[in-house]
């Protein structure tokens, strides 16, 4: 069984994570679209931390002997990897869009300069 102190500490930290994520969304520093994974992580960690019997059972299924909180580490790590992977795709998309924006801006500048030159020569 998970030591009580570990459960309490893990629950507090998970709840703080959830509250923090929600506050970030509320103050518009984080869009819901990018918060979904964080919210899922937070909810899962809260449940696994507070529900000690459940954590114990899951640890049993996974063949974790001796120290059930190892499952908490595993779940936390898995979600950190998922969030990072998600960010990689987001960064890739932003990079592509940035290129398009730079090109559009440069083309626009050229067009403007050319039409201004035309206007003064007429």
């Amino acid at each position: 069984m998970t030591p009580l102190k570990v459960s309490i500490a893990a629950t507090i930290v998970s709840v703080l994570l959830l509250v923090g994520v929600f506050e970030l969304i509320r103050s518009r520093r984080l869009r819901e679209r990018y918060a979904l994974l964080w919210l899922l992580t937070g909810v899962l960690l809260v449940v696994l931390s507070a529900w000690r019997g459940g954590l114990n059972t899951i640890a049993g299924w996974l063949g974790v002997r001796g120290y059930p909180p190892a499952v908490l580490f595993a779940v936390g790590l898995l979600f950190v990897i998922l969030v990072l992977l998600h960010y990689s795709t987001v960064i890739s998309r932003l990079t592509d869009q940035n290129v398009v924006l730079a090109q559009r801006l440069a083309l626009l500048e050229t067009k403007l300069a050319e039409s201004e030159r035309q206007a003064t020569s007429e």
Binding site: F22, R26, E32
Partner: protein, 255 residues
């Protein structure tokens, strides 16, 4: 501003003719529908300026819209419906339009029904009017899952708004300058119709629904497939929930 105004016959309503008005038409790859939509808008009211916001279309949407004489804003890549529509609202706000209608570029909104959608705004009874598929005759056909989803959302929005709302996902809308200002300043990204309704209520703008019938799409597919419906619902409900607590960009009392 627009050449067609010079040869305009009298618009259907003198209250309409007195106002500077614009139709905002978001379009994503609608080359087969956009021309007809523009034609129908013009048939409804020749003095109506039309701005097509092409949301990163990769077909000939931009060219077709220009050929039909509409103002065209070409977004460099797909921003999603919220970003596209807000571009239109900003255009309307910055160019001093007093009245805006929003009509989707896929042709599902029939411009002939605009008179009905515009009426409460023209009468000064509402700041924003939404054409609802369910307020009146049940002519609208859609998949069962989607109808259930629309009903659930309508129920949630009604509870939040403390006002009966039957169709919270309709993009067939008319807005006065006050509502244009709100949406130009702040518009939801992901589910603009549903979240927008909650925003309108929070900002104490007067919202009204009128019954309309919508047409089935003639060409192309809707942006939401049946498969993603449940995921969609979960995300919309989260967005609605968050929207209730979120800091507002446009000051509440001032909107």
């Amino acid at each position: 501003m627009s050449t067609e105004a010079l040869t305009a016959p009298s618009p259907p309503d003198t209250r309409l003719a007195a106002r500077k008005r614009i139709a905002i038409v978001p379009a994503y790859n609608e080359e087969r529908n956009i021309g007809r939509v523009i034609g129908e808008l013009r048939a409804f009211d020749h003095g109506l300026d039309i701005v097509v916001v092409s949301d990163g279309s990769v077909d000939r949407t931009v060219e077709v819209a220009r050929e039909h004489g509409a103002h065209v804003i070409r977004l460099p890549f797909n921003l999603g419906i919220g970003g596209a529509v807000q571009t239109g609202f900003r255009y309307a706000w910055e160019n001093g339009y007093e009245l805006a209608v929003r009509v989707d570029g896929d042709g599902q909104h029939d411009p002939a029904q605009l008179a009905r959608v515009l009426e409460p705004v023209l009468a000064g009874e509402a700041d924003i009017v939404v054409g609802s598929r369910f307020a009146g005759d049940p002519g609208y056909r859609s998949s069962a899952a989607r109808r259930v989803g629309i009903r659930v959302l309508a129920w949630v929005v009604s509870a939040i708004a403390r006002q009966r709302v039957t169709d919270s996902t309709s993009g067939f809308q008319a807005l006065n300058r006050r509502a244009i200002r709100l949406f130009a300043g702040d518009y939801p990204h992901d589910y603009p119709e549903v979240e927008g309704m909650v925003m309108v209520i929070r900002h104490r703008l007067r919202l009204r629904e009128v019954p309309v019938s919508m047409r089935a799409r003639e060409h192309g597919r809707s942006s939401i497939g049946a498969l993603g419906s449940i995921y969609y619902m979960a995300k919309v409900l989260l967005a609605l929930f968050v929207g209730l607590f979120r800091r507002t960009v446009v000051p509440l009392e001032d909107a």
